[in-house]
Subunit: 346 residues, 2 copies
């Protein structure tokens, strides 16, 4: 059971060449003769050699590792984001460190430090709630490429890739207004986040644009989860004049809102219109299918990874702020189908 590591030198001996030649073969150099290449490869197979990337990195001072730190992997939006990143990162021959911070700044600090110690060549970060510029400063100053996703941090001198939350929310609310809704709520999410802020502004601006009144009482925050959606809609239904429709902070909240509605014997998409945000995979198959603002988390992860790899390859870091376009996907939960039916009957 004594596992002696087999090294490039062992291969060299076995193949009757020098370690330098073996190294050349390993990196697929065209300098080496076809016959020797074959000999070396045979030796590699025979001895069961496994490349030591750590040693190589040490010499080359560049790793094939990128880090991704997300604030809540339990949320399927972020899980999908991670698979998007994973897909492109794997194809590029990289491997990813994945860490979950659970919204804890301290954890985030630790994992980022740990990743730097491991020599990641780049980092994709969906920052924990409350992350400040100062938290990222040491990382950014070190010169390693960083791209922020989902949540931007004002003043941080790094690339970011966020979706157009304002435009998406406006589109959703416009749609609700067109369907004739007069009292539209904005449900869920933590009010102290940039994403909430942007979506809520879009909601408000759409109302203003239509000359409709805005009311603070119709904006109800909650945890951005399914459970949060349940409590938010309960609160909304306590109001003196209840809303008839809602734009939700995200899809998880929207599902919770549907749950809460059903608990009150109200059928989402019939008695009450609900629109989500993000378009997670389940949105399509849920009943009723969720009308939502499509953000395509996997695609976002892919774009983020591509941006990061580009920066790693380029060597110099030229911050770039991308806002991903977004589109309203009309399905059943906003009652559009019902409206259409009614129109057809009329």
């Amino acid at each position: 059971m004594v596992k002696e590591r087999v090294t490039v030198i062992d291969i060299a001996h076995a193949a009757g060449v020098s370690k330098s030649t073996v190294s050349l073969v390993l990196q697929g150099s065209s300098l080496v003769n076809e016959a020797t290449r074959a000999k070396v490869n045979a030796a590699i197979r025979d001895l069961g050699y496994v490349y030591n990337r750590g040693a190589a990195n040490l010499r080359q001072a560049k790793s094939k590792i990128i880090g991704i730190v997300v604030n809540d992997l339990t949320n399927s939006f972020f899980a999908e984001l991670a698979v998007g990143v994973d897909a492109v990162v794997q194809s590029a021959g990289f491997v990813q460190f994945l860490a979950n911070t659970g919204e804890k700044i301290e954890r985030q600090r630790e994992v980022v430090a740990s990743m730097r110690e491991h020599g990641v060549s780049g980092l994709i970060v969906s920052p924990a709630r409350g992350t400040e510029v100062a938290d990222l400063a040491p990382l950014v100053d070190s010169g390693i490429p960083v791209v922020l996703v989902v949540r931007d941090i004002a003043g941080a001198d790094v690339s970011s890739l966020i979706s157009d939350n304002h435009a998406g929310a406006m589109a959703a609310v416009r749609h609700l207004i067109e369907r004739g809704h007069q009292r539209i709520a904005f449900l869920g999410g933590f009010p102290d986040t940039a994403v909430f802020e942007a979506r809520m502004r879009g909601y408000r601006d759409a109302l203003i644009e239509a000359g409709m009144p805005t009311s603070e009482s119709l904006i109800i925050g909650s945890a951005p989860s399914r459970a949060g959606g349940v409590t938010a809609v309960e609160q909304a239904m306590m109001l003196a004049d209840r809303p008839t429709a809602a734009l939700c902070f995200n899809d998880a909240v929207a599902f919770g809102v549907c749950d809460g509605l059903r608990a009150r014997r109200l059928e989402p998409g019939v008695d009450f219109a609900v629109i989500g945000f993000d378009d997670v995979i389940e949105a399509k198959t849920a009943v009723p299918a969720l009308t939502t603002v499509s953000v395509d988390p996997q695609g976002m992860g892919q774009r983020a990874a591509e941006l990061l790899l580009k920066q790693i390859k380029a060597g110099k870091v030229e911050p770039e702020a991308i806002v991903g376009s977004v589109r309203l996907v009309v399905r059943q939960s906003c009652g559009a189908a019902v409206e259409r039916k009614r129109e057809a009957l009329a």
Copy 2:
């Protein structure tokens, strides 16, 4: 912008000691005088030193990295499993490589190879569908600790941590039988997997135990996803004598079954009893709350990580097969509440 890496030698110069002393400080040795320790730490702060774990690993031949490869991160069961692993791994000062195989053996082979090259000290694997002993052989032979989770592979000489699928399924079906159901279906999942096999056997054994007939037509496979659940239940409702209850392959399928039921104007938990498997977080908050066999994916991830770390620490690999206990969590979707109400009225 020219970032010169600061090394242990730079620190040594700045603090007026030797690199060996700095190294001692770094690893918290008690051999070093308090005063010099302070000097060194000050220098570390001043120069913004970051430890190079790669170099250390090279010398020590052991890394603080573990790998986790899952077959489908998009499925929230596995996402939660990953966060469970992450939590304990982080606390132990390790960092995790996370790779998603998307059920593709080839991908799995690649990522496992890549992780070995990066020198992971251990690996947690939820194998892709169709993984065979031979696929794992090179990994296992290398002597690095491996623990299989969720899906076991017969004949593989490694530790495994799977839940008691057979007992869980039996408990669920017994419950359905007690509630008076006569025609109970088993819906969803790929029939060629060990997990399907175990759960299906549990389902069948419970029927046999009760002296009830078993019928092939009531066992309907599908993709283990929400969409798969929809199609499975549609197929079930085409049957001549429809089932009145179903045990589903997993929670995702169960949600899909609820969706499909509603699409036919049937209320899950009232008109039809459904039980899931896994107990993902949404099971509790869904409406109706899902009765399910609780597997606690996060806890499973934690246990797997603990087992792996134990083996890494022990040095020698003593394969250990753990089957995690499982319990039926009765909520609303199986119609228990309704039954009780009926009993109370009677």
